[in-house]
Symmetry: C2
Subunit: 460 residues, 2 copies
Amino acid sequence: MSLAKARTMPGVMELLPLDQIAFQNMLETIRRNFERFGFLPIETPAIEFTDVLLTKSGGETERQVYFVQSTGSLKKGEEPSLALRFDLTVPLARYVAEHEHSLSFPFRRYQMQRVYRGESAQEGRYREFYQCDIDVIGKDQLSVRYDAELPAAIYAIFRELNVGPFTLQLNNRKILRGFFERLGIADGEAQTLVLREVDKIDKRGAAAVRETLTNAPFSLPIEQADALMHFVAQRSDSHASALAMLDALGSGNSTLDTGIAEVREVLRLLKALGVPEAFYVLNFSIARGLDYYTGSVFETILTEHPDIGSVCSGGRYENLASHYTKSKLPGVGVSIGATRLFYQLRKAGLIGTAKSTVQAMVAMMDDADLPLYLELANQLRAAQINTEVQLEPKKLGKQFQYADRAGIRFVLMLGVDEKAKGVVAVKDMLRGEQFEVARAELTQSLRVEIEQSEAMPKGL
Amino acid sequence: MSLAKARTMPGVMELLPLDQIAFQNMLETIRRNFERFGFLPIETPAIEFTDVLLTKSGGETERQVYFVQSTGSLKKGEEPSLALRFDLTVPLARYVAEHEHSLSFPFRRYQMQRVYRGESAQEGRYREFYQCDIDVIGKDQLSVRYDAELPAAIYAIFRELNVGPFTLQLNNRKILRGFFERLGIADGEAQTLVLREVDKIDKRGAAAVRETLTNAPFSLPIEQADALMHFVAQRSDSHASALAMLDALGSGNSTLDTGIAEVREVLRLLKALGVPEAFYVLNFSIARGLDYYTGSVFETILTEHPDIGSVCSGGRYENLASHYTKSKLPGVGVSIGATRLFYQLRKAGLIGTAKSTVQAMVAMMDDADLPLYLELANQLRAAQINTEVQLEPKKLGKQFQYADRAGIRFVLMLGVDEKAKGVVAVKDMLRGEQFEVARAELTQSLRVEIEQSEAMPKGL
């Protein structure tokens, strides 16, 4: 029989077990903090109907969709009626519209699932990746105060992930639009086009964007373009300086005034939520590409790794599910692209291979004593210690080698001497020490060691 | 704009948040026990290349595959080169073959992911469902002792899931084949056909299967058919009676003898692993449909709900990855179909809606005091209490109604009186009690209450 080459398609992340454990530790940190802030879990199917998924008229996302067909449908030559989700926002909209009458509003949901994009494969770009999203959805209206809660949750997550210094970059599209309006760019469509150019400053550089804005079709007068570039270059470096930036904007039109008031409220609550001021920055250049944001916009930057770009982004939108329901459902959400984040953190040396989930291994000393070893394993497992047993006779050196390679910390030996003395010999592979413990005290003694090392950061 | 109807395709399970929490509690119990027994996590992509996935020649599974195509590939009218996995065994085989040189053997892996089958939709049948698998893969050889470890892990899981009494049904295909051989059915292919008929006894009934076996193409003499039916009707009701069943088989051919020795070893280790004898049954009718099992086979039956069928099945196979590598990789594995299990347990009333993951809600008493409420929430979150804050003024009755509906246990009130007294008023929605606690003692007091209730079974 000819062999098929064992391989995955490009653009997916598949990990060896110890790396998978590090990844799961990261996901668990995210989940724990989502729950800490009162978000509720949902999961949606990976496959959606195309007429539900592709409501937006064409565009970038539709070109990247993976269509799905059963064998039967394929044989009949039918057009695909199913596709894989490309984000968690469209499924959330469908979910909220479908279950609207069973949900309590504001609906605070978190969702951590894989999404699929038929992208061309390149380094750091994924065709399958985890998104970890939180959103708060209101019925008819939703206070801007929720726009402060989300960055506070994100702060808690990145602090716990131990990724070094980072900042939450805040802005508000109403400030951008209001400012553009005051500059004389009054038309909403024109404002959107300018927003998109502003969003490119990081990629293209300020000079190139300024150049674009002064040329057709924008054709902004030089003074306007300069005022705009000066405006978007502003960054706060403290809570007080953020407030000063808002003060300096002065008053203008109702859009600008509303934007300023919203950012003020977000800043006030971020402080009350205990986010240290070193961790948030008011940055007037943050615009976000997606059209549906209408108020607050967020990005998250690792201070020592700005090249990674935003590791968590989001914002406020006016109406989540207008394609499925006449109910008005405003919301605010942020998303962490966990697969790419893990890849980048690993590349930057901020995350390493994890300790094994297996905490102890019972060595095989004498085949006749296997029942004793299994009984010892039972005792450890009952004490919530993850335990593997060597079930087959093998040289002790080989067994140690296995434990070392597998990242198992404690190797337990119950040989002739230990049996006679009523003890277990424990080799701590982490500390390179060996000691004896009375059998009655074994689990207690290991639990203490394990809890001490669990107090240290995981996956590092 | 015309609205798209918000809906999912038939055959998927989508849950409201409190049910999702119950489901996640179930998955966490499974994961915790997999790790307790020393299994390591892996995850594989949902999408595989078709030439990797569909190595077996056609058959039932291939007809149920979901093919995947990007927009570009679809437009070009290409044959799909990608498909969604239909189980976790084929991806495991591909994974082990691909990463063979980076893995330690015996390789003990667990995997809990969704799989996809283009089935016709009917109640309790899913097109997307979670499988939770453990397998141990050996290099060249793997001791039969691992065949005892897997049922021991499954015992630990179902005991903790609180699903009422259940039994692990054990058998060994070598016993079946050896017995058939002694009866005169010597040809391997003929044995396989008889195995398949035996596997149908539960569905068709013993009489119908006996009838089939006595007719063409089997044409077994009546005495042989009766001996066979008598044999497969045997069940142990204790450890001793299981051993007696093996003794009574006597000796015969090497296949039978090997099978008997293997089951003896599995029984011996199950006992040493502390599985009470009420929980395992030697059942000579267990055959499992799949052809690749060669030794031990397992099923798990809920005693009071036999109609549900096996909730966890598996067995021993000779060579996991022969389609991808020349290495011989024997293994043993079991699989829990978690989505169907959850559906069935809910239907049978064995699992209910969970408590919310949100443990406390800070009520909004006076808008001016919002910073105080947020500070209180910080304090609770720092003490690992999942907390939501009411961010907008609302009648207190409405806030209680929300907490009640959302399944949040503690509502915390910090009104004028409480501020003056330096206390927080706590309404325990579970007990229907209200009490006051000094602010300095609040987190400690709630933690005690929460830990007490966490000691009770979850999701019930």
